[in-house]
């Protein structure tokens, strides 16, 4: 059937902020879908709350709404737009749940909106555990023994019957939030309690554990005429037991014989047909390694993280074709966009192997529990392509940016410690598996512990053999060549042969042992293909020919992680588009399969490669680009600049010298004092002794951080010398190569500015003010545009500083500056000569596409010829806020206190006529359940008590009940506020934990008292609040903002001629 003409406009629902379990893959899916629908002539209306996406660009849809993804707001969009159809399956679990809610509220029916693609009945059948199990039984498809439970007692009954271990999965949650594996009654109780709470329908599935089975996924597509195909299957190297999002995965499957491959393929197709899916769908299976017994674990009736991976792994664009299917097309009517010669109704054949490696946030969260289980913990992932498993695996390790050059852990372990480590099933397991093989543990022993298939273990053993060979025959060129073919980096080869990197690079050059590039073409070379999508490998024939058009290379930003999120992919995509418009060929290198930038239709040439100097130089050698743009890919790309320049590559935009002057503390200070711009007192230390001295000189509190880091990693505010000493021991290895920066910590208003400069003209699209005072990482602060409390004269000074800094650092392109204002003095905290987290936000609200403007400027089109002049762009009437979003519910034992180290995973935008309205939208969109009445529990540090009192009295005026710990309560009472005293932990009943776990408090305000109350108390309180979904603020500034919102929503109810309210 060709496309439907009875519908004109379609509403696409996005997935909201980046959180663990829902990352950039939905920007990729949504963007593809919108383009696909527009291409067919439909009017596309998009709603998403995440400004940092390509999807929410004006050009992606006909009308874009950046509004909270709640039934309330989406309904108002619906009322305004009256779309004919809506697509639910492209916005992840968030989008799916939202559309289901709209349907159950009768909104879709009332406004006559048709759900396109997969219908609700199918979604319910796949999502509702009971319905799903019933269907599987009807189809005669095996599912592990399980039960739907609504209480801990029911769960206990099940384990009494079936025994342990069991897996608990809450219904309707994403990334398995709240789930886990229980081996004992105690664990069962804990996980069930969390699971029931996490599930919006208070329902959990408890099932017999099939840990140790092979975990296999099938990505399946079906159209309205019941044609169904498998796009790709994938095998998890980690057997069942680790969430697939946290597993190291290969595609296609490696250890299934054809019989098993077809067995699971048949099951997957049967299920997608029985469900009646129209579009993409993911089927997760488990198969016994010792028989053909298999189980169906789960079905996701929508585009997912796995489908993004499958799309990039095969070249088959699942989301795009899902959108076309939703519009009525059949698979055999759609062309395969890769070959452009064949049709979409076929199954891709790969002639390479893909490895996906997750990226976990444990480098930022020292305290986090690293054990992997049924709840996903990774924030992002990388993918690598090779012609052999070892090549693909070693490329994946390099891509993950773990500071590893090889499948070799940083820290050496041996004996029992090593075996314990590989038994622990954590994020580093495979590294230590390799280590165990290196230390001559038998593959059988390792298999017994890890259940990892012998195939993978033997392949890793092959890598270790090559390491040995390199060590023993360090002069043997054949051996060196073999190692390169197996995917060894030059650094690894240098390490094992005991040579320097330079010698190794020279050797590579002498031998001309360079890789060629092969095409990803969906058909293993069977048909001619038009798609410029390449990967490197050590083979004979090079397929990536340099074209005659001059090209520019853009370095992407790698995996999504805390501190370097989707914002940098947004900038990368705009960079690529602008380069193409300027008549150059845009060549991109990136390794993140979730993103828009790795969609082969975005650039002229896509190289799916690790972002290391060696891998980038391979592409440079092949493409001979006119220049490389590094300022849009975040710190990942920027970090490569100096090594690229050292190898004779032309860095476009701001010069390396000036980038370095921003990063290098001493040069930075010199430049600033030359420009007569103040910065907080500070110095660089290269030893503990020096750090101590500097801290004493400038005085506590101090802000300390290692140089050259991203997202404030390991940055802390320290109040005493003893804290400094612990920090130096714990957090950083300090030496002349890795100095630490020590600054005076200034309490004040933090201001952030993004600017574009061509060296001459400096455009400041906007100034943003942070709600939280300096000390909270800018990425974790609520940013407000335009500033609400700033005098014109202050704005002028900030713009003046910005212009001077841009000129002083000779910035060509983008720059981001952070200021702090203390007592009307402005200090510069940092200058980043690159794209920043706020670029998409600011671009969208000011209408100045900063990345595009900057690229044009870099390519020679001056800002003045683009119509800009130096200074601040006129401010908009609307107020916009950027609100951070955290994934604390997924990360147990992570402290939620905000500080200089970034913790948020994503952001949302709220925009309206007033600050309060904008904040309301932003907070709602970020998932906060703003209480309008109830109780507020205060437990604050001494230094914050007076400020807390102000807030408490405002809460009181709104009718909230107050609760506080002893000291705070006394103060409140003294000032005439009624307050209930709550005991500190362990000093009586009810204590703070009781109040929270019984949900007697709806709002918790908790600030840190350093070095007084045991740190763990505050921690436990905060975690308890997070687990219960209770609003918990660790900054009084945030509380003040939330309070402002609550106040603005309240009508006052005061008796006439009342007594004056409590005055403080």
């Amino acid at each position: 059937m060709p496309k439907r003409n009875d519908i004109k406009s379609i509403l696409v629902v996005g997935s909201g902020p980046i959180i663990i379990g829902q990352a950039a893959e939905f920007d990729y899916a949504g963007t593809q879908a919108c383009h696909a629908l527009k291409e067919e002539g439909y009017e596309v209306i998009l709603v998403n709350s995440n400004p940092a996406t390509i999807m929410t660009d004006e050009t992606t849809a006909d009308r874009v709404y950046i509004e909270p993804l709640t039934a309330e707001f989406v309904t108002s969009v619906i009322r305004k737009e009256r779309p004919d159809g809506i697509i639910a399956t492209l916005g992840g679990q968030t989008g799916l749940n939202l559309v289901m809610e709209l349907s159950s509220q009768g909104i879709l029916e009332r406004y006559g909106i048709e759900l396109l693609g997969t219908d609700l009945e199918a979604i319910t059948k796949a999502e509702d555990r009971e319905a799903f199990r019933k269907l599987m039984n009807e189809l005669n498809e095996p599912v592990p023994e399980s039960d739907i439970v609504h209480s801990i007692d029911e769960a206990r009954n099940f384990t009494q019957r079936i025994g342990f271990p069991v897996i608990i999965r809450p219904a309707y949650t994403l990334g398995g939030t709240g789930g886990g594996m229980a081996y004992s009654d105690e664990q069962l109780e804990e996980i069930m309690a969390n699971g029931l709470y996490a599930s919006p329908v208070n329902q959990c599935l408890i099932e017999k554990s099939i840990a140790g089975f092979k975990e296999i996924e099938y990505e399946v597509m079906r159209d309205g005429s019941d044609q169904a195909i498998v796009v790709c299957n994938m095998e998890n190297i980690d057997p069942v037991g680790v969430h697939t999002g946290d597993s190291i995965v290969v595609a296609p499957s490696q250890t299934l014989a054809d019989r098993e491959y077809q067995l699971l393929r048949n099951a997957s197709l049967k299920i997608i047909r029985a469900l009646g899916i129209e579009g993409g769908c993911n089927v997760q299976c488990a198969i016994d390694p010792h028989s053909e017994q298999y189980y169906i674990i789960e079905v996701n009736p929508r585009v997912s993280r796995s489908s993004a991976l499958a799309s990039k792994a095969t070249g088959y664009p699942i989301a795009k074709l899902s959108a076309k299917i939703a519009a009525g097309y059949h698979l055999d009517e759609l062309m395969n966009p890769i070959t452009k010669n064949t049709y979409a109704s076929f199954e891709p054949a790969l002639d390479y192997i893909v490895t996906k490696w997750p990226r976990w946030p444990f480098d930022k969260f020292d305290s986090a529990n690293r054990t992997l289980g049924s709840q996903m913990k990774a924030t992002g992932e990388v993918m690598a392509i090779g012609r052999t498993f070892s090549e693909s695996l070693l490329k994946a390790v390099r891509s993950a940016e773990l500071d590893l050059i090889h499948l070799m852990p940083d820290k050496k372990l041996d004996g029992e410690d090593l075996l314990k480590k590989i038994a622990a099933q954590d994020d580093e397991r495979l590294l230590y598996v390799a280590e165990a093989i290196r230390q001559k543990h038998s593959l059988r022993e390792i298999h017994e512990i890890t259940k990892i298939d012998f195939y993978f273990l033997a392949e890793i053993a092959g890598i270790i053999e090559l390491e040995e060979a390199l060590k023993n025959n360090s002069d043997d060129d054949e051996c060196f060549r073999e190692a390169k073919q197996a995917g060894f980096s030059n650094e690894a080869a240098a390490y094992f042969t005991g040579r320097t990197l330079q010698e190794t690079e020279q050797r590579q050059e002498n031998l001309q042992a360079y890789p060629v590039f092969k095409m990803v073409d969906t058909c293993a070379g069977e048909f001619e293909s038009e798609t410029p999508y390449y990967y490197s490998t050590y083979e004979e024939e090079n397929e990536a020919e340099k074209s005659v058009t001059p090209s520019i290379l853009v370095l992407g930003s790698g995996p999504i992680r805390i501190g370097q999120g989707i914002e940098f992919d947004y900038a990368t995509v705009h960079t690529v588009r602008t380069i193409r418009e300027a008549g150059y060929e845009a060549v991109i290198i990136n390794n993140n399969p979730e993103t828009v930038s790795t969609d082969f239709e975005v650039s002229d040439k896509l190289y799916f490669e690790p972002l290391t100097i060696e891998d980038v130089m391979n592409v440079v050698r092949n493409e001979q680009p006119d220049g490389v743009l590094v300022q849009f890919g975040g710190q990942t790309a920027l970090n490569l600049a100096s090594e690229l320049e050292a190898r004779g590559v032309n860095i476009l935009g701001t010069s390396l010298k000036n980038m370095d002057a921003c990063e290098d503390r001493d040069k930075f200070e010199a430049t600033l004092s030359g420009l007569d711009i103040p910065q907080p007192l500070g110095k660089t230390a290269v030893s503990i002794e020096e750090a101590r001295k500097i801290a004493r000189d400038i005085g506590y509190p101090i802000l300390i951080r290692p140089s050259y880091v991203l997202g404030g990693r390991a940055m802390e505010i320290l109040y005493h010398e003893e804290e400094l000493l612990t920090y130096m021991e714990r957090a950083v290895r300090v030496n002349s190569k890795y100095p630490v920066l020590i600054d005076r910590y200034l309490v004040g208003q933090e201001i952030e500015v993004d600017a574009v400069s061509d060296g001459e003209t400096v455009v400041v699209p906007g100034i943003m003010e942070h709600i939280e005072r300096a000390g909270v990482h800018s990425g974790d602060s609520i940013a407000v545009y335009p500033p609400q409390h700033m005098k014109e004269s202050m704005k002028k000074r900030i713009v003046d500083y910005t212009v001077r800094l841009a000129r002083g650092f000779e910035v060509k392109g983008l720059m981001n500056i952070q200021f702090v204002i203390q007592h009307d003095d402005i200090y510069v905290l940092e200058v980043n000569p690159r794209s920043s987290r706020t670029v998409p936000f600011l671009s969208k609200i000011t209408g100045c596409n900063m990345a595009e403007t900057a690229v044009k400027a870099v390519l020679g089109e001056s800002l003045s010829s683009q119509g800009y002049s130096t200074g601040l762009l006129p401010e908009t009437d609307y107020v916009s806020v950027k609100v951070p979003v955290f994934s604390f519910q997924k990360l147990r034992s992570v402290d939620i206190t905000l500080g200089p180290e970034m913790k948020s995973t994503g952001e949302v935008m709220g925009r309206d006529e007033s600050l309060e309205k904008a904040l309301y939208k932003g907070l709602i969109a970020s998932g906060m359940d703003i209480p309008m009445h109830g109780s507020v529990l205060f437990t604050v540090a001494d230094k914050d008590k007076n400020e807390a009192l102000q807030l408490a009295s405002r809460f009181h005026r709104l009718g909230f009940d107050l609760m506080a710990t002893e000291g705070t309560a006394d103060l409140f009472r003294q000032k005439g506020l009624p307050v209930e005293t709550i005991a500190k932990l362990g000093t009586g009943k009810p204590d703070m934990l009781d109040v929270i776990s019984e949900r007697r408090a709806q709002f918790v305000v908790n600030t840190l008292t350093k070095g007084k109350q045991p740190a763990s108390d505050g921690f436990r309180i905060r975690r308890e609040a997070v687990e219960r979904g209770i609003v918990c603020n660790t900054s009084l500034d945030t509380t003040k903002a939330v309070l402002g919102v609550i106040e603005s929503m309240h009508f006052s109810t005061e008796p006439i001629r009342s007594k004056a309210p409590v005055m403080i």
Partner: protein, 362 residues
Amino acid sequence: MKRRLILENGVTFTGKALGAESPVTGEVVFNTGMTGYQEIFTDPSYKGQIVTMTYPLIGNYGINRDDFESVTPNVHGVIVKEAARYPSHFRSEKSLDEWLKQTGVPGISGIDTRKLTKIIRAFGTLKGRICGMEEETLEVVKELKQTVLSNSQVEAVSTKSQFWHPGRNNHRVVLIDYGAKKGIVKDLLGRGFEVIVVPYNTPAEKIMSLSPDGIMLSNGPGNPEDIAQVLPEIKKLAEKVPVFGICLGHQLLALAFGAETEKMKFGHRGGNHPVKHLVTGRVSITSQNHSYTVKAASLDKTPLKITHVNVNDGSVEGLAHENLPVFSVQYHPEASPGPEDSKQLFDTFQQLVTEKRGITHA
């Protein structure tokens, strides 16, 4: 040990030795299947051919006792990017290399199989030779150019004498063995048929004397025109009993009714070929292995109608007689290896056999 692959166009690849040591000459083809190498290497249709697997990692799950499509391997040579050293699978009994050595099939690994595939795509199927480093390239090329590949592959792989598989029901199918895969027999037996396998050149009268309720024309190697002598026999049979042809059997059926076949540039080999059923519009993903195809235009003057076409290149994938219970497909409904989306064709056949009525749907 190093080994070479030399193509008739002079291109050579140097790789590592795999399998038996003897040199071998054959027609170099590629298969895009990502699993199923054991079935492929034992499929009699590959007689005389050197098969390149486009998927680079072959042998991962070893060789087991179940997945043979014939008793001995039929490929003349095997080309892979990498042969797994340590296969891992609960059914695995030996490694690919061990098995190839035992069965005397030479191979080569470690070459740029994608480059080779693209050469075949560009130049069509080529003759090639897997040999040791000592052979002189120019000599080999000259020889290859002169080599006329055998046209008696069917004879080589067909059974020499007839044999019998008892069935569960009363329906008897005679399977004419042009190089039948075990998978076809399995599917017939699976539906309860009694199966009598006969040599490819068995005369129609002799087959009819076995009182068949249906005839299965099997797959097989090579050019259908090489065994033109069987065509009149097929026609005679088709006029009497329901007939189902697969692959070579399909081509022979077409020729028997007066259609023509031609050699394709590089054929279809793999498990991902989309085939559209013209009546229902439904597309199935099919397993394929053929170098020759039925010319669509040549069917006009025959009683055969096209029922299936290839979605990508439009080639003929299925035929049915306009009034006899006779039909055929170019692809492999028995899969083994590959997708099992078309197994219902055996049900259709069963229905025809059972009812001995005209074709209702194929």
